[in-house]
């Protein structure tokens, strides 16, 4: 856990404290109020059905576990976003409010700028991606326009299903088929392999909106934040031809005929996929 994570709750506490004395700032009285945010996870798509990736492989998943750490929600636009509609007055006020406690991140152009802290869910757990939707712990936040979120991995994994990860932050198993070739594979990721460019175990600048994949929603009361996981993004750039029998440097399958793609170019495509913000979509609905 790094210092920012430690500071995160304090920042939010400060924001909440300020919100209590500034509820009239908006005129409408709809910004800056403390709210409770239930948290749930949805999985996009049926992983047990073949999904064709960008390289023509039909990928079917038979096992998938993910370590989920803290989730943070922000007013800043998602990373390298497109120009959006004019900012609402409420957002402007919230941004200014947040800046009382969050030093603006004067990032390099193109870098994600978080803006004001708008909410968080701090309890880590392990998720079975083949299970139905599930509830995570409640989080908290403040009302106001929210545009982006940070997903973090917890390492070592925690929760009732943590043993399935065997210390990794992601474990997947499945088959990939192209033409007459079918490869049984396992693809895993460790925390040291999913660090971002700033050496944090997170995906920073994911979209947070009214619907999954969209950015910008006014959190106007107690609500539910849904983290929609899109595992097909993880596999979209995985070229399984690098692990086909006979391919140069292809690892040998185990006794069950399953090949661990670790260290191959197929695995490098997988690691790039798990770092993409489009695999982690956040949305808010008022309860």
């Amino acid at each position: 856990m790094n210092s920012w994570y430690q500071a995160g709750p304090l920042v939010l506490v400060g924001l909440l404290a300020s919100a209590c004395s500034s509820s009239n700032d908006s005129g409408s009285g709809t910004t800056g109020h403390a709210i409770v945010l239930k948290t749930r996870v949805d999985i996009k798509g049926d992983l047990t059905q073949p999904k064709t990736n960008a390289l023509g492989w039909d990928v079917t998943i038979t096992k998938a576990y993910l370590s989920v750490g803290a989730l943070y929600y922000y007013s800043g636009d998602p990373v390298l976003s497109q120009r959006m509609s004019p900012k609402s007055p409420a957002r402007s006020r919230m941004a200014r409010l947040g800046e009382l406690f969050v030093k603006p991140a004067y990032a390099h152009p193109g870098h994600y700028i978080e803006g004001a802290a708008m909410g968080q869910m701090l309890k880590s757990t392990t998720v079975d991606l083949l299970a139905s939707s599930l509830e995570l712990a409640d989080g908290n936040g403040v009302t106001g326009l929210t545009n982006s979120a940070n997903f973090t991995w917890q390492s070592p994994p925690t929760g009732a299903l943590a043993a399935n990860l065997e210390g990794h932050v992601i474990v997947t198993q499945g088959t990939a088929t192209k033409g007459t070739t079918t490869i049984s594979f396992v693809a895993m990721a460790d925390d040291s392999e999913v660090h971002d460019g700033d050496d944090k175990v997170e995906v920073a600048g994911c979209a947070f909106g009214a619907t999954p994949g969209q950015s910008g929603v006014e959190m106007d009361g107690d609500g539910t934040v849904t983290l929609t996981l899109v595992p097909s993004v993880w596999f979209n750039e995985v070229d399984f031809s690098y692990v086909m029998p006979g391919a140069t440097g292809a690892p040998a399958p185990n006794a069950d005929g399953v090949v661990d793609i670790a260290g191959t170019l197929a695995w490098q495509g997988f690691i790039r996929g798990v770092k993409k913000g489009t695999a982690y979509e956040f949305s808010y609905v008022r309860n």
Binding site: V79, H111, G197, E237
Partner: protein, 296 residues
């Protein structure tokens, strides 16, 4: 640019400023008036070249052309209302060195106070674009022909003396907003106009950014070897179309991480360099802005 044209532009800008800021003339705040001059500079990296010491893999780059079109250079008030704005797009060749005074976009008269909302766009190119200081009508026509916001040409030299040329055009316009930078030793949002004073606001172009090996990390740096390797037809010129054929996951880590942060749509080296092109705009030297692709 001729002095007559420069004078015309100054008068136009002042007139536009007056039109957009009707309260300025009858300002009763007692703050007085000051002047903001928007200028641009590509630093030595664009004017003189990037030496091998600047590259992690010891290549070097010399630009022969670096065209950008400035659009909608704007100062807005606290409510987001436009107060002054560049009246038409201006094209600059950042390789051209200014003699004496810096290359200037426009000069505006404003109430002396803090103006925290400064933004500008690179692109789009349009029919009413004109050459800025030291640029030519041919430069404007070149951008117009490709509907490009940025056009760069140059030569890269390897540590062993081998050379590759490049000629790249980048089309999507980029909005740089929420600009902040150092003024008189202090970090300032936008610009602080002082009574009777003139503030030069330099829109700085960072030519090294087109070669950075990570879109997110502050630890990254310029490299060229992976770009050179993309020259699939070995004709000595690295085309963006060739870079489009290089998946990022195939680049060995010793040639750069080519990390993409959380971006979900950058899978090839061509997409990567197009994304880098949206990061070249800075503010008052090392200051910066929040950049976004402009969707027309």
């Amino acid at each position: 640019m001729s002095s007559t044209k420069q004078t015309t532009r100054l008068l136009t800008s002042l007139a536009l400023g007056a039109a957009l800021l009707p309260l300025s003339a009858c300002n009763d705040s007692g703050n007085g008036q000051g002047t903001v001059a928007f200028t641009t500079w590509g630093e030595k990296y664009i004017e003189d070249g990037l030496p091998s010491e600047a590259f992690l893999d010891k290549w070097s780059v010399k630009y022969s052309k670096f065209l950008v079109v400035y659009h909608s250079v704007t100062i807005a008030d606290a409510s987001g209302n436009i107060v002054v704005q560049l009246d038409h797009p201006l094209v600059f060749d950042m390789t051209k060195k200014a003699k004496g005074t810096p290359k200037t976009l426009a000069t505006f008269s404003l109430e002396a106070k803090s103006w925290p909302d400064v933004s500008y766009q690179m692109g789009p190119i349009s029919d009413d674009a004109e050459p800025g200081d030291l640029a030519t009508a041919a430069d404007v026509a070149l951008l117009q022909a490709d509907q490009a916001s940025v056009h760069v040409e140059g030569t890269a030299t390897s540590p062993t003396g081998g050379q590759k040329t490049f000629s790249w055009r980048f089309s999507p316009a980029t909005l740089f907003q929420g600009c902040h930078g150092e003024q008189d030793g202090k970090e300032v949002e936008g610009v602080l106009v002082t009574n009777g004073g003139t503030q030069e606001v330099e829109l700085t172009v960072h030519g090294d950014h087109l070669f950075y090996d990570d879109l997110q990390s502050e630890e990254g740096g310029p490299r060229f070897q992976a770009y050179a390797d993309a020259d699939a037809n070995s004709d000595g010129d690295v085309a963006i179309e060739e870079m489009d054929e290089v998946p990022l996951y195939t680049i060995p880590i010793e040639k750069g991480s080519y990390g993409t942060g959380a971006l979900g749509n950058v899978d090839t080296l061509g997409q990567y360099v197009r994304t880098l092109a949206r990061t070249i705009g800075h503010y008052r030297g090392e200051g910066s802005c929040n950049s976004k692709e402009v969707v027309e």
